[in-house]
Each structure stands twice: as C-alpha cells, then as structure tokens.
Amino acid sequence: MVAKRKIIVLITALLLVIGSMRSASAQQPAFKAAFLYHFTEYIVWEKAQMETFDFAVLEDSPITSQIAIIAKGKKVKNKRITVKQYSSLEDISSCHILFVPATCSVPIETIIEKFSGKPVLIVTEQEGAEKKGAHINFLISENKLKFEINQKAAENNGIEISSQLLQHATVVD
C-alpha cells in the first residue's frame, strides 16, 4: 500500500518535471502561438474593423507556422482567421495582432510609432519592450513562459484587456 502510493507520487513528480521542461525548451514558439490565440478571448478591439481576424508577424519567425496550425479551422470573434508574415513594416496595412519576434530588425519604437492610436495589439518578446510601448511582452521566468502587459498603452490604442488576462500577467504602467 505504502509502496504503491510512493510510486504514484514519483510518477506525478516526473510528469511535473517533464511538463515544465517541455514549456521551457523547443516548444516555446508553439506555446507563444497558443498564448497569442488565447489572448483574443480576453481582449476587445473596440474600434477595429473586422471582416476577418488578422494575425501579422513581422519578419521571419517559427511562430507563424505555429499560429497557422492552431488557427486552422477556428474562429476569433466569430470571424475567419488569417495569418500573415510580413518582411517589412510598410507592407502591413492593417491587422489585429502584430507579433514582433526577438530577431526583428525593426526597432520597437518605430513599430509602435506606426500603429499609435490604431486598434492593433502589439506583442513582443524582448526584455524591456513593454516599457517602450509594446502592449504585451513574453518573457521566461523561473523556466516558465510568462508575459507582461502595458495596459495604458493598449488603452491608448483602443484595446481593452480583461482583468482575467491581467491576473496572469505582470502589469506595467
């Protein structure tokens, strides 16, 4: 009886370790893509025109394909989902979420500048980007994927973020 219980505890512990390992390693783009997709549930684009729901990725990133996998056959705000990867900032005319990979050559400020006042959620993965005006910024903390939210910046662009999402994030003023 005691031995059995010990084995169960051991297996559970092992599963926990494996889970955290998974989130911390090679699957990071998949997690980020999933997060991006889940964000849409807690965010309202108040002024946005929405015929389709558009994901945009600036410059090359493995996340694009991951989003495409997740979004396949699904809808956001009851709209069809489009995922596009842009090589230059100028090509992006309109979108609802713009993901800026860490490897992006365009400075954060330029991007923020371009979409200032427009209902586009800008998500980054660079340390300090949120302080520069990015709405949501991914980071790894304690070997786990976390994110920071600049609520004021988002509000300024007409994007309302629900408190439910805020409770999982580090909120920056």
Partner: protein, 614 residues
C-alpha cells in the same frame, strides 16, 4: 416454549397492534432515513458540483496561460469549504496543473482514468467529483474534488436517532391505544369465558352474558345466551325425563321383584345380571351371590349344562334357538343341591347391541302332583263311565224287550174287552158296562205307555242328523197342527217371535216343540184366557228358546221330578198324559249338546227353556 395459541387474546391484540405499528413505523423510518441521506447526498453533490464549475471556469485562463500559481491560489481559496479535503486540476493531457489539500487532511492522488470525465462517486465516507473544464467546446482539463462526508455521518446518526425516538414514541402510543381498545374486544370474550367456566363448574344454566351493542361479540353473547336457555330447557326436560324414568324403573323393578315367577337375566356369556326375590326363594341363592355368576355355576343341573352352553353359542352364531319363546319343562338346581321340576320360558332382546336373555321360571312341583292326581281321577272316571254305559245299554234292551213283550197281552186284553162290549153288552147292567169300559180304557192307556216307552228308548239309539233349521217356521208349523187337534172351550192365544235359525236335527227338535207347546196348551186349557208366547234370546255360545204360558204351573219343590220318566206332578183326572214328554225333550236336547230347564208357580204359569249351541 410459549405457543401463540396459549397467549391470552388480550395480549394477542396488544401484540398485534404493537407489531403492526412497529413494522409500519420501521419501514417509514428506514424510508425517511434513506431518503434524507439520498437527498443530502444529492444536495451535497449539487453544491460541490457548483463549486467545481466555478473552479473550472475560473481556471480556464490559468490553464490557457499555464499559470499554475494562479490556479493553485484559486484552489487554496477552497479552505473556506470545510469538507473539501483534496482538490486537483489536471490539464487535458492529464498532467497535474494545480493541487490543494486541506490542512491536516491526508493527500489524495486522484486516479487518472477518471480524468476528462464528468462524474460523481460516493465511496464510503467520501464524495469524489470530476468536472471537465470546457472552453469553446474544447476540453482543457479536469477539476477533481475529494469531499469528506463527516456531515453525512453526523446527519445519518441524527436521523437514525430521530427515527429510533419516533419508533419508540409510536410504539408507546400504539401500546396505549391497544391497551385502551383491547378492552372493548377482549372484555366481552373474558365475560363469556368466565360465564362458560361458571356454568361448567356449577351446572347452573341461569347465568347470562351481558349484551350491550350489536357488534359480532355481542351477537356471540346473544347466541350464547340463547344456547344457555336452550340447554337449561333441555336440562329441565332431561331431569323430568330422568325422574320419570326412575319412577318407571322402580315400578319395573318392583314388578320384577314381586313377580310370582323367578325372573333371571343373563348376558351373552351366560353371566347373571338380574335376580329377583322369587328367584331367591326358589333357588336359595341371594341376589348378591347370584349376580356375576354363570347359570351353570348356580341353577342348571349337571345334565343340562352342556346343552345350555351349546345352545347359547349356537344362538349367538346363528340367531336361532330351540328353546326360545316357548315354555319348556325341565329341572332346576337349588343351592342345597336338590333338583325340582320347573317350567322355563326364555326370551331374548338386544340391549346396547348385545343380546340379553330373560328367563321366567316357575316351580311346577305342586302342579305336577295335581296333574298326576287328575290323571288318576280321570282313569277312575273313565272306568265308571264305561260301567254306566254298559248298564244303560242293558237297561235299554231290557225295557225294549219288556215293552215289546208287554204289548201282546195288552193287545189281547184290549181285543177281548172290546168283543165283550160289542157282543155281550146286553148281559151287563150299567155298573158292569162301566167297569168294562174302565178295563178297556186302562188297557189302551197301558198300550200308549208302552208305545211312549219304546219311542223313548229308541231315541237313545237314533243317529242325529243336523242341518240348518228355520225355527220360526218350525214353531208355526207345530202350533198350527196342535190348534187343529185341540178341543175345549178356550182356544189359547199363541204368539211366536222371530226365532234365530238353529243347526239341529229337524224331526227331533220338532218333537221338542210338539211336546212343550202341547203341554202349555194342555195345562192352560182351564184358564179363561190362555196366553202362550214362544221366544228366544242369545247366550254366550248358544241360543235359548222358551215357551211361556199362564196355565196351571207347578211347584218348584218338585222340580227334580219334572224331567223324569213317568213322573207327573198332576193327577190324570186333571190332565191326561203318560209322564214321558219332558223326559223325551230332555233326552233330545242333551243329545244336541244343549240344556233344558223350567220355572213355574202353582196356578200362575210355567216357562220351559231349551238351549242349542251354535
């Protein structure tokens, strides 16, 4: 071992009521306890399931954003729920996402095969609840809860206690009600039973059960009372009959005891069961000695014993007996060993399915002696009769020959005296003529006497030839003839009643009528108004005919001479006759088996009677 049948009806009723109440209440209590537990479980399941739903929906975002800390923090809020012991959120890959264990409670690892399902399990003192976390129709994970049911245990105990209390109160109430109401059922029955016992022990049928209503028990009492009345009536009737029977029996016993014959009854095995006083006197055995002994031990002489035993067994086997219902003569044995002649008559009857034989025994010692005497006397009598007949015959032949021989000289006297009267009357004077006439008359009378005597003696020899004779016609015929030949101044007035016919010899009875009627005419001839009546009356075995007149009559002092031969009560000067008529009448009537007699008074008349047997 106490059988249900031996318990008083009172306790049966109470027991029945209490048992019924107990069963009903117990079923209700069990039902309510089960229902309460079930509804408690349902309510518990509902509330826990609501909590699980809240946790689930609150955990959606935490799972989406892999925020274990947030989820764990949410689960820790469960500490306000005192009975949630363990809570775990697993993701859709069944990996543990967040766990909670109530302080002080043992850690429970939920089995992974329950994950990704909605289910509620009650397992002993725990409730296990698994709730799928859904978002946009997508399973995100499972909320698993382990809930302690200490409350349930407590509630169950409370309910059981309450049920026990209710059961107790209910049974007490049932007992109370049963105690109150059993009286109305059992007390009439007790009354009945008491009265029955009273009647049984005292034989007094006057008691009556009280009746106060019309239910079945009162009807029972009513019927019982009627029955008692009927029994009382019968009892009186039986007592009456018994006393009547006692009287009849004592009369019967008296009859038997005082009977002039010895009366002895025996049963099928020959044992004496009754022995009356005459039996005591006759045989010398007292009643007390004789009863219980067999006949062969007491009164049957040795020579008859075997026959008696055989006869009894034959009768018992075949139902027929040679000696039953007729008088037989044999000898009896006295106690002192002497034997004496007895007459015995045995009859049998069946009493209570068995034969009883009654013997009537008469001591015929005296009778035997008398019979012997009679036999002796009879012999003497017969001898004398024979002698008498011989002398009678001698007498008859003598008188016949005498009369016959006497006729010749009389005829000679008669003849010669008539010749003298005719041829020599002139030679006689008047006196001579008168003497001659007297000689002739006396000679004629003598001839008549001899004729009558001959006729009389012939009567003794003549055969009687009987036939049915019309006596009225015969009497009329005789009367007519007599009147024709009667001379004299006073013709008699003769009346003839209707006479019954007789079975007799017509010519001889005609002679009787001629003799008697002519006598009457003769002896009443000197009366101014002679009256003669002929009549009859019936006696036991014969008809009596009579001829009555109002003539000279006779003196009863000389009655003995009346029917003798040549006996006359009157002088020939007064009335003619030979004195043989009544002797002939007597002889004829006696030969017919009848009787003849007469009554008379001098100067007033006479009646002559003769009887003829039917």
């Amino acid at each position: 071992m106490i059988s249900i049948h031996n318990i008083s009806i009172k306790y049966k009723l109470v027991l029945m009521q209490v048992l019924t109440s107990f069963i009903v209440l117990a079923i209700c209590c069990v039902f309510f306890v089960i229902t309460d537990i079930k509804s408690y479980k349902e309510r518990k399941a509902d509330s826990i399931s609501a909590i699980a739903q809240v946790i689930g929906s609150n955990s959606v975002s935490a799972i989406q954003f892999a925020d274990n800390a947030s989820a764990t923090a949410k689960l820790n809020e469960l500490n306000v729920e005192t009975d949630i012991l363990n809570a775990t959120i697993v993701d859709k890959n069944k990996a543990v996402f967040a766990t909670y264990t109530k302080k002080g409670a043992p850690v429970y690892i939920f089995p992974s095969n329950r994950f990704n399902t909605d289910r509620i399990e009650f397992n002993g003192q725990y409730l296990f609840l698994y709730h799928k976390i859904m978002n946009n129709k997508e399973v995100l994970g499972t909320v698993c809860l382990q809930v302690g049911l200490t409350q349930l245990q407590k509630i169950t105990n409370e309910k059981i206690q309450l049920a026990g209390l209710l059961l107790f109160i209910g049974i007490m109430l049932a007992l109370l009600i049963a105690m109150i109401f059993q009286g109305s059922i059992s007390s009439p029955i007790f009354n009945l039973v008491q009265i029955m016992q009273k009647v049984k022990s005292s034989d007094n049928y006057k008691s009556r059960a009280p009746v106060n209503g019309s239910d079945e028990l009162n009807t029972l009492s009513l019927v019982f009372n009627d029955m008692l009345e009927e029994i009382e009536r019968r009892e009186i009737h039986i007592k009456q009959r018994t006393s009547e029977l006692e009287v009849a029996n004592s009369n019967f016993q008296n009859l038997i005891q005082s009977a002039p014959d010895a009366i002895v009854t025996i049963d099928e095995s020959g044992i004496i069961s009754n022995w009356n006083q005459e039996a005591e006197t006759m045989f010398g055995w007292k009643e007390a000695e004789a009863i219980g002994k067999t006949l062969t031990e007491t009164i049957i002489p040795e020579i008859y014993r075997e026959a008696h035993t055989k006869g009894m067994s034959r009768f018992l086997a075949t139902g027929t007996g040679k000696v039953l219902n007729k008088s037989i003569e044999l000898s009896g044995l006295k106690k002192d060993g002497s034997e004496f002649p007895i007459e015995l008559k045995i009859s049998s009857s069946i009493v209570g399915g068995k034969y009883v034989f009654i013997g009537f025994i008469r001591d015929i010692k005296e009778r035997k002696k008398a019979e012997e005497k009679i036999l002796l006397l009879n012999k003497e009598l017969e001898q004398k009769l024979e002698e008498l007949e011989i002398s009678n015959k001698e007498m008859e032949s003598f008188s016949y020959s005498v009369s016959h021989d006497l006729r010749a000289p009389i005829r000679a006297i008669n003849g010669f005296s008539s010749i003298i009267q005719k041829q020599y009357s002139a030679q006689f004077d008047e006196e001579g003529k008168s003497l001659l006439a007297t000689i002739s008359g006396e000679a004629k009378r003598m001839g008549q006497l001899i004729d009558d005597l001959l006729a009389f003696s012939r009567l003794g020899k003549k055969e009687i030839q009987k036939s049915k004779v019309d006596m009225t016609e015969l009497a009329k015929e005789v009367v007519a003839e007599i009147i024709k030949y009667t001379e004299g101044p006073n013709k008699a007035k003769i009346t003839i009643d209707n006479l019954p016919a007789a079975f007799c010899d017509r010519s001889l009875i005609r002679q009787v009528f001629v003799n008697l009627i002519s006598n009457s005419v003769k002896y009443s001839g000197q009366k101014a108004e002679p009256v003669i009546s002929i009549g009859s009356y019936t006696e036991m075995r014969s008809t009596v005919y009579f001829i009555k007149d109002n003539g000279a009559g006779f003196d009863m002092a000389f009655y003995d001479k009346l029917f003798g031969v040549f006996q006359r009560l009157h002088s020939p000067e007064d009335f003619t006759g030979t004195g043989i008529g009544l002797a002939i009448v007597k002889r004829i009537i006696v030969r017919h088996g009848g009787k003849v007699w007469g009554e008379g008074k001098v100067g007033e008349g006479a009646v002559f009677y003769f009887s003829l047997p039917f």
